[in-house]
Symmetry: C2
Subunit: 134 residues, 2 copies
């Protein structure tokens, strides 16, 4: 039978614990890419968890059209947001967090708040490490 530790499924073997195929990695890899967290953050604070493409683009400094499109497609594919297309002229597209997308925010917040609290220390460690081998 599988046990649970730190939110990860694993089974005991003679060679030690063997973790189940890494679902967390698949999600963390997405959140770890260059723009996803920023897009999620903007939608999180938006009224109705809903924003236009152009609003996102101008709100996220440095993002290109291409990367915003790709990031939104990936989030849509995972079911974390929905794309609402309005066939007007000029066309308008709204992106809205799904229930699941919004449900992810509290969990993510717990983790990002730890990062915020420990960030200065991490930066110090990196500096010290780099310093030591120069």
């Amino acid at each position: 039978m599988d046990k649970l530790i730190n939110g990860r499924r694993y089974t005991e073997t003679e060679q030690g614990p063997r973790f189940a195929p890494c679902a967390p990695h698949s999600v963390l890899a997405r959140l770890g890419d260059k723009w996803t967290i920023l897009v999620m953050s903007h939608l999180a604070v938006a009224p109705g968890h809903q924003l236009r493409f152009s609003t996102l683009k101008s709100g996220i400094e440095g993002i290109t059209q291409r990367m915003l499109t790709l990031t939104l497609r990936n989030l849509e594919r995972d079911g974390l947001l929905i794309r609402h297309y309005f066939p007007e002229v000029p066309p308008r597209v709204e992106y809205e967090l799904t229930e699941m997308g919004a449900g992810m925010l509290p969990a993510l917040e717990g983790f990002t708040s730890w990062i915020r609290d420990n960030w200065p220390r991490i930066e110090d460690c990196r500096r010290a490490y780099d310093e030591a081998r120069r």
Copy 2:
């Protein structure tokens, strides 16, 4: 003054919220790389949060020496683990979570448990999405 939302610092501007330089991204990008989560998970369940290089290597299926070394170096650089070198023959090296590394586990657990709960639904969404455009 900065406000906080979902664990992210940001300031209000006329163009909407502008998030502070992305510290979460830097950490999530590391956790999102291919092996980091697996290394952390193994150290998390190890007695004393401590394991040898060879134990990690044989415990993590498919990892190469090179990638394990790189992953460990990065975690060491961030101050999440310490490297203990014993100059014996043959040499022995133990890796141990630091206080900060261990302190990250509960925060990470909250997030990975959300992932675990929602993973089936995410997989369904991906399948449906891919199906729809085939």
